[in-house]
């Protein structure tokens, strides 16, 4: 037994900033001080505060150390673990108090969160099935197999009001019900969509990395509910840590008899295999995903027939997203009323958001549905850096839209977001401030869809490309007002005619920015100006002779020699040579360079 547990985040964010070396060094230092029988080092999943990684937490005190480097390790061991003295300089600033520190759960970032899907992330060792069992893992599966009929399970999920967390928000229980007929007589499949492709969204990765067994348990429960014996997890090959931990988890679950034949002596058989995706965005679309599992090129097919009728290998199939699965065991253990008590009337439970862009606390947060955008950005997210003004939040990735400041107090749920022209999507939330150009943002997302369009249907393959070309024209100052009308017409045409969800939602970023930021489009077209100073063709850099001290820094840094001037005298930029790289603007100590 250990008197102290040192938890080190092993999520992708912290791993890329060196947490593996920290673990190695901790183990070495602990051994050096002969504490290896007293103190254990545990590699966990993501804590959510990725901006402050690598993160190390020492229990029982609960000291939350942030931005730890390998060089800090000897001090943590010698001071905290040997002598019991907290290393205050490494504590997460928000937790520091005059006479010690506050628990991490009392900080702004965590206080308003409610962790259901992420409950084990950052708490347990994901590579140890017994730690998962220690937090009531596989208890829901036991309860389902021993005490409930398959129809009971489906009814319970229906009663909870759980809706799919992958984007569209289809009621999960209903999906299961559609696939539940003819149990025992036909082959059926249960699939997990772990092909998380939205730029900026990484909650599925975190669940797989931090709590892989929850997905296995939930899929097995669904297998029992619909009468399937085989499951597939379709996960991106770009998530190597998630793939590794899933493989470990599947191996352990088989070893403990929680996957395989006759689970809990109930006569029910279920097994799960992984399928690695090669990184095509369209494979996150359910029919394309199943086509890819079948071994074919990942292209969508028309619906109906829906997967519940004719899915993988032409058999009835249910397909849910990782975060949806992560809610299932908790709903079974705590009851549908518990789950339905959180959230809004039509959107129950919690939702995980990946905060990114112009926000202080970049990371993962799980909040009850119905929390306002203001709470998420200002309180949990810690606001916008450098005192800049909030302009818009982008939700739903390339399928979603922008929410402007006027809707800052909207309660986030599926229906409210649709009503204001965006969507929940998988939960990426990218914050933009006054320095972001909305036309440029729309162009960025469209560039992504053009790149990722599978090419099967014309509206998506050609239509999105034409839209991108119009946007490109506008950002170069060559657009006309008719182009804006054409853009809109094309957008609605693609929405109505594309084959799959990717194409049908691809115009959303353009439509929502046209709706809320039309004045910015008009400024690009009519005044030939980019108000945010992003579109390079529409701006030039100038030096304010009053502020310029003649330090020559800009002239030295300019890659094309466009800046001239005598020492200690005002400099000048030759606009015919300037390539608008912005190096001078970023480096001027006297704020003498401005954009026009």
């Amino acid at each position: 037994m250990f008197r102290s547990h040192v938890l080190v985040c092993g999520g992708t964010g912290c791993t890329s900033s060196g947490s593996a070396q920290i673990i190695e060094s901790l183990e070495k230092e602990i051994k050096k001080h002969c504490l290896d029988k007293e103190v254990c080092v545990v590699k966990t999943g993501c804590h959510g505060l990725c901006a402050l990684g690598p993160i190390v937490i020492v229990y029982p005190e609960g000291a939350f150390y942030s931005m730890v480097s390998v060089d800090d390790v000897p001090e943590i061991v010698a001071e905290h673990l040997v002598k019991g003295r907290i290393v205050t300089r490494l504590l997460y600033q928000e937790t520091v108090k005059e006479d010690g520190f506050t628990p991490i759960v009392d900080t702004d970032f965590y206080r308003k969160q409610h962790r259901v899907a992420l409950r084990n992330c950052g708490v347990i060792n994901p590579e140890n099935i017994e730690e998962y069992i220690g937090t009531r893992g596989y208890e829901a599966l036991g309860k389902v197999l021993k005490e409930m009929t398959p129809d009971d399970v489906i009814q319970l999920i229906l009663d909870s009001g759980l809706r799919g967390r992958g984007g569209a928000g289809f009621p999960t229980g209903l999906k299961w019900k559609f696939a539940s007929g003819n149990r025992g007589n036909v082959q059926k499949y249960v699939c997990c969509n772990a092909d998380e492709g939205d730029p900026g969204a990484f909650m599925d990765r975190s669940v797989l990395e931090g709590d892989p067994h929850v997905v296995l348990e939930a899929m097995t429960i669904a297998g029992y509910a619909i009468g399937a014996s085989q499951g597939y997890i379709y996960v991106r090959a770009e998530y190597p840590i998630a793939v590794e931990r899933l493989n470990i988890a599947i191996g352990q679950a088989r070893e403990y008899g929680l996957l395989g034949k006759n689970i809990f002596d109930s006569g029910f058989d279920f097994d799960i295999e992984l399928r690695l995706g090669a990184g095509a965005f369209v494979c996150g679309e359910e029919t394309a995903l199943m086509t890819s599992i079948e071994g074919n090129r990942g292209e969508p097919r028309p619906r109906p027939p829906f997967p519940a009728v004719k899915g993988l290998f032409e058999s009835p199939t249910i397909l849910n997203n990782v975060e949806t699965w992560a809610n299932i065991p908790q709903i079974i253990l705590n009851g549908p009323e518990w789950f339905a008590s959180m959230g809004t009337e039509k959107s129950k439970g919690t939702k995980v958001f990946a905060l990114g862009g112009k926000i202080n606390n970049t990371g993962l947060v799980e909040i009850p549905m119905g929390t306002t955008l203001r709470t998420v950005i200002e309180e949990i997210g810690g606001g916008i850096p450098n005192g800049k003004k909030f302009k818009a939040a982008q939700t739903g990735g390339p399928s979603g839209g922008c929410i402007p400041a006027e809707h800052f107090d909207v309660e986030i749920d599926y229906d409210n977001l649709i009503a204001i022209g965006s969507m929940m999507g998988s939960g990426g939330l990218i914050v933009m401030d006054e320095d972001n150009c909305m036309v440029d943002i729309a162009k960025f997302f469209l560039e992504f869809t053009v790149d990722e369009s599978c090419g099967k249907c014309t509206p998506c393959r050609i239509g999105t490309k034409r839209m991108w070309e119009i946007l490109d024209k506008i950002t170069k100052g060559k657009g006309t007002l008719e182009d804006l009308d054409k853009l809109e017409e094309l957008a609605y045409y693609i929405k109505d005619n594309a084959l799959c969800g990717l194409g049908q939602t691809a115009p959303n970023p353009v439509l929502s920015t046209l709706r809320y930021f039309r004045d910015e489009y008009v400024a690009h077209v009519v005044d030939k100006k980019c108000p945010a100073g992003v579109c390079k063709d529409l701006l030039s850099f100038k030096i304010d002779p009053e502020k310029c001290k003649g330090c020559t820094k800009c002239a030295k840094n300019c890659p094309v020699g466009a800046i001239s001037g005598e020492k200690k005298e005002a400099h000048e930029i030759d606009t015919s040579k300037c390539i608008k790289c912005g190096v001078c603007y970023d480096n001027c100590k006297f704020d003498a360079i401005y954009k026009v």
Partner: protein, 121 residues
């Protein structure tokens, strides 16, 4: 594994370990002085004994933590028991055996072992 009992056995075995990472600070804190003076006087075995026994007995409201020198070096090893709403109890000249006594009497049954407290010296 074929039965719910087997699952339960693993859960109970692991609960102490995972519950150890609880964030709440509303329970009893047992603080062991672990400065140079404490360590020299033998505080380390006292600390590990307390920590092991608390986990063994599943006392999930009790946290065993370390602290630095509190200035009473000649009384080390010192163990303080801090319970919300009650006066702090300071035990002095602790040994692993005395620590076990404190767990059984003070932490489990709520009886202060007054023969080891500071005010008796």
């Amino acid at each position: 594994m074929k039965s719910l009992e087997e699952l339960k056995a693993i859960r109970e075995k692991m609960q102490g370990q995972v519950g150890f990472r609880d964030e709440g600070d509303d329970g009893i804190r047992v603080v062991v002085g672990m400065a140079t003076c404490g360590i020299a006087a033998g505080a380390r075995p006292v600390l590990t004994t307390l920590s092991d026994k608390v986990q063994e007995k599943g006392l999930d409201k009790v946290k065993v933590v370390q602290t630095g020198c509190i200035g009473l070096c000649k009384y080390e090893p010192i163990v303080e028991v801090i319970e919300p709403g009650k006066e702090k109890v300071t035990y002095v000249h602790m040994t692993p055996d005395k620590a076990i006594e404190i767990i059984d009497k003070h932490l489990v049954r709520g009886q202060v072992v007054s023969e080891y407290t500071l005010d008796m010296k």
